[in-house]
């Protein structure tokens, strides 16, 4: 119950955030712009529109994770409003998870808006709504939630600027780790394999949550790809949030 109150307050707060509204409007504009970009492609207009739209959703989700996720706790700590909340009968983990849940709800609404815009643009072109995009969008949402969790964790450990750098690095490494694995197999004669293997197993493999190409190309989705991807993402979010709670629990708020 207390967790829900914190979540609801965070939701109300973030939905009014001008930065987020601007990012959302810009993302919607970009999805509409994909109509023009698609026209420049050579015979792959619908594909380009979908690629462009899904990438815009993913990247703007990352931006929201950076701008809002990092500020989520930092703002409370800087403005000392955390003392007011902490003095109430509410546990620290409830504050942290409540805030995370509130932002997750906001992000869900954003994703729904952007999906509706993408479907509208797709409908103009194809006269049909491509529901096949849903698995990719669900995993994309999980990916954004994971990035928010990382942003939250880093913001508890360092300054907002460094947190943004760390989160972007995690996003980049996460999308490259599949390549690192391929590199180890394809270039067995080259060095640093131990390092690449370590990165592959420790950093999140965000390609597990990336079905964009498969759904846009209408490739047959392997049954395991969505299920295990979802399991992987949710498991990872739990781990990162668990560490964030442990860090916040030990933080001296005096």
């Amino acid at each position: 119950m207390r967790l829900c109150i914190v979540a609801l307050n965070t939701f109300k707060e973030s939905i009014r955030n001008r930065v987020m509204i601007n990012i959302l409007l810009f993302a919607l504009a970009l999805i509409l712009l994909s109509l023009v970009v698609g026209d420049w492609s050579m015979g792959h207009q619908v594909k380009v529109i979908k690629d462009f739209g899904l990438s815009a959703m993913s990247l703007f989700g990352l931006l929201i994770a950076l701008f809002i996720g990092i500020r989520l706790m930092v703002q409370e700590l800087e403005q000392r409003t955390i003392y007011v909340i902490a003095s109430k009968p509410v546990r620290r983990w409830e504050i942290l998870i409540g805030k995370y849940a509130g932002l997750s709800l906001t992000l869900l609404i954003n994703i729904v808006f952007m999906t509706a815009a993408l479907w509208a643009v797709g409908f103009v072109m194809e006269k049909t709504i491509d529901f096949g995009l849903i698995p990719a969008i669900v995993l994309m949402y999980v990916e954004i939630l994971l990035m928010v969790a990382f942003a939250l964790l880093f913001s508890l450990l360092s300054s907002p600027t460094l947190s943004a750098v760390f989160t972007i690095t995690m996003f980049a490494v996460g999308h490259m780790s599949g390549f690192l694995r391929d590199y180890v197999v394809l270039y067995p004669d080259k060095g640093f394999h131990w390092l690449f293997k370590a990165i592959y197993w420790v950093a999140p493999n965000l390609e597990n949550l990336n079905l964009k190409t498969s759904v846009v190309e209408h490739l047959q989705l392997q049954p395991h790809a969505f299920g295990y991807g979802l399991l992987y993402g949710l498991g990872y979010i739990f781990i990162v949030l668990f560490i964030a709670v442990a860090v916040f629990d030990r933080r001296d708020l005096k």
Partner: protein, 273 residues
């Protein structure tokens, strides 16, 4: 719940989450293969539209597209330097992978007078990668629209890619586009002459292009030898050798050099036959 019990429950949950992540990763890895044949379409704006959007950085965008083109080609072409290809061969999967992807090359009609054509067919008419690098000519068209004075992409598509794909008309169109934009270049008509001679068996066009190349500043002496060869019905093998040496001399690309040297190594033996 007592604090110690709560801690225990959370610790178990944390370990369970780690195991879930590791287990899902292992499961996903089992279904993941490194494939040589990569048929993902390439996002490629039309060259003219891209030119309008470069905000005055045409050459820079052209360079970026050129690098993308080289990477695209290197990743997909059947070549022993392509690790994706050699890996598929090692795994014994190459035939299975190529099956649906490969388009069989059109038969090129060879001129019975140019016996050297059939002798060197296995090197100059490999055409193995046709169907695997379907976007290469549109990409090269984009590069050369952005930077029409960048000669090498024309040569790359007109000579080197042609050996792998057999897209003769696309190669000629690219070289002619380059020649129109660089009318002072002696190399482009020289290469055009090569394609018309070797792949089209059109001696009249070859003669015309060599003649044009001769009239340009900086033209090498061997172009004159070739011109004499065409007009005096020179030994065909000898002409091929001069042509290939000219191609070798005029390129900086190690890949192109390697391929031409391979052809030249076989040529003297054939010439003595």
């Amino acid at each position: 719940m007592k604090p110690i019990a709560r801690k225990l429950v959370w610790t178990v949950c944390f370990i369970a989450a780690i195991l879930t992540v590791v287990f899902s990763q292992i499961e996903l890895n089992q279904h993941r293969e490194i494939r040589f044949v990569d048929k993902r379409p390439v996002f490629l704006p039309k060259g003219k539209a891209l030119a309008a959007l470069t905000l005055g950085q045409r050459s820079l965008v052209g360079d970026w597209l050129w690098i993308s083109t080289v990477l695209y080609y290197g990743r997909r072409v059947m070549d022993e330097d392509n690790r994706y290809y050699t890996y598929a061969v090692q795994q014994g999967r190459i035939t299975e992978e190529l099956g649906p992807a490969l388009r069989h090359p059109d038969t090129v009609s060879t001129n019975p007078l140019l016996k050297v054509q059939s002798d060197l067919g296995h090197l100059l008419y490999r055409f193995e990668s046709r169907g695997l690098v379907g976007y290469i000519y549109p990409m090269l068209d984009g590069v050369t629209t952005l930077d029409p004075h960048f000669i090498f992409p024309h040569v790359f598509g007109g000579v080197y890619v042609l050996m792998d794909t057999g897209e003769i008309d696309a190669a000629i169109a690219l070289l002619e586009k380059g020649y129109a934009a660089n009318p002072d270049s002696w190399e482009l008509p020289f290469y055009l002459g090569w394609v018309y001679w070797m792949y089209k068996s059109d001696l009249q066009r070859t003669y015309q292009y060599l003649l044009e190349a001769m009239g340009k500043q900086g033209c090498r002496k061997y172009v004159g030898d070739l011109l004499r060869g065409v007009s005096q019905n020179m030994n065909r093998t000898e002409m091929t050798r001069i042509y290939l040496q000219g191609l070798l001399e005029s390129t900086q690309s190690p890949e192109v050099k390697k391929r031409i040297e391979a052809v030249l190594r076989e040529l003297p033996e054939r010439g003595r036959q």
